[in-house]
């Protein structure tokens, strides 16, 4: 049983779960205390030790099922006579010419050791990390398929080798065993193919439901930013300025009340030492309320920009409610624009950003590359005190979405919020990668009109 847990842990690590040695040890130490024949208990033991967040849980369930059900049950059914032949076949597969990494991983997978194969799949998912910049253009869209191809080919070769193996051993192995063997191995190959086809368990996870929005503004609040008439634009600006004023007043009041605070006895008495123990001067606990640090990642391609600009204006107008606001715009690579906003009024800064020659407005949007480069260059801007806001529609032109990097950013940040200017009905259609991204975020919201924007900003500031 211990060996099995070790192998399960290895497989889980290969599939991207982070399991520490101490967690494996804990699980092993506790194993004798549960009834391992009761699956609910056994699964609960592993789950409690290995899967420590909602996201990891989904992945864990998937792996658990694969490891303890799909890879196990057929062995029980066909039992002893098949096992040595599986081993023979594995050896034959590995010695096949020309050798390939995928093939030996598949060989191990057939012999119920999925770690290498899972690792292979995992590396396919996050490929391209090292090669920042990578090949671009028409071919990039096919990236996922191209990378999967060698594995597919290896699977095909394994299948052919299986047929060859069975034919060659026709006389040596009893026909019943042969039949079981074929069924068993073919079943596993099928499982391997299905895994490759990319049934990512995270995709089946339902993201947290969108929070409902308070309707503060009437008709104006409901009109999408993109459809505003010039007259409405003016009214929108007024409404926003008013909102900004009100929020500032509110936070100002809070700061003031807090800075008066309770008397701090400890410091008062320490100060009293100078006056022979008579507290002449009262000291107060001054604890300025925590101000959030904000990093905004803004998609500036067409449809998103109309929303993004209002969000940026809002954030910078409220800058003194935050510790620091840093903003990045991107089309296919992140580009820091904080400087423009620091130097100028928001409107002027926006114009400057729009005319910044460093931003390739004509290029196709690429979220994957943006995330990759952001991690490479700017990850130090994200700390446990930062709230990261991504404004974008998640339409990545069928490129690799690199959601793993987004997960990494979330792990470093205090909160990750995704604002999508598209109505929810359009998400996950076409090249939208919202499904992959949404489950990773602490909060996902639609942001296309003033009501929604006001609600978001209010939550952020207060």
């Amino acid at each position: 049983m211990d060996v099995m847990i070790h192998r399960f842990a290895a497989a889980a690590r290969a599939a991207g779960l982070r399991i520490a040695t101490s967690e494996v040890l804990d699980a092993l130490a506790l194993l004798p205390r549960v009834d391992i024949l009761d699956e609910a208990q056994f699964a609960a033991l592993l789950r409690a030790n290995f899967a420590k967040s909602r996201l990891e849980r989904a992945r864990f369930e998937h792996l658990y099922h694969l490891f303890f059900h799909e890879l196990r049950e057929d062995l029980h059914a066909s039992s002893a006579p098949v096992a040595p032949h599986v081993e023979d076949f594995r050896r034959e597969l590995i010695s096949l010419e020309p050798p390939s990494e995928a093939l030996s991983a598949i060989a191990d997978f057939l012999a119920a050791d999925p770690a290498a194969y899972l690792e292979l799949l995992n590396s396919l998912q996050s490929e391209g990390r090292g090669a920042a910049g990578g090949p671009r253009g028409a071919g990039a869209n096919l990236g996922g398929l191209v990378r999967r191809l060698p594995v597919l080919r290896a699977l095909q070769r394994a299948r052919e080798a299986l047929d060859g193996f069975l034919a060659a051993n026709r006389s040596r192995i009893h026909w019943e065993t042969r039949r079981d063997l074929e069924r068993h191995l073919a079943g596993r190959l099928e499982t391997a193919r299905r895994l490759l086809a990319g049934e990512d368990p995270l995709r089946r996870l339902t993201p947290t439901p969108l929070p409902a929005v308070t309707e503060t503004y009437g008709e104006l609040g409901r009109t999408p930013f993109a459809n505003l008439s010039p007259g409405e634009r003016v009214r929108l600006r007024e409404a926003m300025a008013q909102l900004v004023r009100r929020l500032r007043d509110q936070t100002g009041l809070r700061t003031k009340a807090r800075s008066r605070g309770l008397p701090d006895l400890k410091r008062t008495l320490r100060g009293a030492v100078r006056t022979q123990g008579i507290p002449l001067e009262l000291r107060f606990r001054r604890r300025p309320p925590r101000k959030g640090r904000i990093v905004v990642l803004c998609d500036v391609s067409g449809s998103v920009w109309s929303t993004a600009r209002f969000m940026l204006v809002m954030l910078y107008a409220l800058q003194d409610c935050f510790d620091r606001v840093r903003s990045f715009v991107f089309v296919d690579a992140p580009h820091e624009v904080t400087r423009h906003f620091d130097d100028h009024e928001a409107d002027r800064a926006l114009t400057e950003v729009l005319h910044d020659p460093a931003v390739p407005y004509g290029a196709p949007t690429d979220y994957g590359r943006t995330l990759r480069l952001f991690r490479h260059r700017h990850l130090d801007t994200v700390t446990k005190k930062t709230t990261v806001i991504v404004i974008g529609d998640g339409r990545s032109n069928y490129g690799n979405p690199e959601e793993a990097i987004l997960g990494e950013i979330r792990d470093r940040a205090r909160r990750l919020i995704w604002l999508n200017p598209e109505p929810e009905a359009f998400w996950n259609s076409g090249d939208s990668e919202m499904r992959s991204y949404a489950v990773l975020c602490n909060e996902v919201r639609v942001c296309q009109n003033l009501n929604q924007l006001a609600d978001i900003v209010r939550n952020l500031v207060l």
Binding site: A29, V34, D38, A40, A48, K266, G277, D411
Partner: protein
């Protein structure tokens, strides 16, 4: 032995008024055996805090609660010196102090003598124990509940690590205090933010979700004994439908219980449209939510 195996754990919790799934029972049992903290996550109001209370009741231990919030620091969580009391004692005992130093040949010697009495000033007498220290110093084993740990600052989280891994606390003036009994620790989190890997690694993880209708009915019947079976069924079914609506705050078990209590007080025997409308404030905590339910009330109370 209340927590001798998983089944016994389940029964103990049940006797303490907490209906639980096999998973919850298993994790609680394992935590008790291994002496490891449990990190409980899940939506608000599904009984995370209640689990800790039930464990305390079931084991017959005292429950010590530490509510986390932004800006919580060690002086509020661990211990604080009572300066005022120290000062007061010094004032009152002034004569004794002058006795102690009288006859000293030099200032240095007087200092030496006071230093010899230093222990009198920094002793447990002047130590104000906050929840964490209280849990560690307690002569009887306790249950320590660290509530909403996700609301605390990252700094505090780092500080918790030391306490949770070794169950010891270092007070510079007094030395290291080790727990006499390892407390049963429950941390709850609403997933406002992710906890650090280091903290997670030291805990067993438990995710509690909204219960299925069967479990929820069980909970309602157990907690509100006067409720008729039929009404309980209607209540739970209606609640399931309300949860399916797109609400700002999805009502959870605690709201179900409040609602059941309200219906019991109103002596209602069947859930009708009027009853739902008049008791809506119990389940919906936002005006818009109430409106939304009002629109859908026909569907909510459609029972076979």
């Amino acid at each position: 032995m209340p927590f001798s195996d998983v089944e016994a754990t389940r029964q103990t919790l049940e006797a303490a008024g907490y209906a639980c799934s096999p998973e919850i029972a298993t994790v609680v049992f394992l935590a008790a055996v291994a002496g490891k903290p449990v990190l409980v996550e899940g939506p608000a109001g599904v009984g995370k805090t209640e689990l800790a209370k039930a464990v305390a009741r079931g084991l017959g231990r005292e429950l010590i609660r530490l509510q986390c919030y932004e800006g919580l620091d060690e002086t509020k969580a661990l211990y604080e010196w009572e300066y005022a009391k120290q000062l007061l004692y010094t004032q009152i005992a002034r004569e004794k102090i002058s006795d102690a130093v009288s006859g000293a040949a030099s200032l240095g010697e007087a200092m030496e003598r006071i230093a010899a009495e230093e222990d009198a000033f920094f002793s447990e007498r002047f130590l104000l124990a906050r929840p964490l220290l209280k849990a560690i110093r307690s002569p009887a084993p306790v249950v320590l509940l660290i509530d909403e740990v996700d609301k605390s600052d990252p700094e505090f989280e780092a500080f918790l690590l030391e306490v949770l891994s070794d169950f010891q606390v270092t007070i510079p003036e007094l030395g290291t205090r080790k727990a006499l009994h390892v407390p049963f620790v429950v941390l709850t989190s609403n997933n406002y933010r992710d906890m650090s890997d280091a903290l997670k690694r030291r805990c067993l993880h438990l995710y509690i979700d909204y219960p299925d209708a069967e479990t929820e009915r069980g909970i309602v019947c157990r907690r509100i004994p006067g409720l008729s079976r039929r009404l309980a069924e209607q209540l739970v079914a209606a609640m399931g439908r309300i949860r399916a609506l797109d609400l700002k705050k999805t009502p959870s078990i605690s709201e179900t219980l409040d609602w059941a209590q309200a219906l019991l007080s109103l002596q209602v025997d069947s859930l009708s449209r009027e009853v739902v409308l008049s008791t809506l404030n119990v389940i919906c905590k936002y005006r818009q939510d109430a409106q939304r339910v009002r629109q859908e009330v026909e569907r909510v109370v459609k029972f076979p």
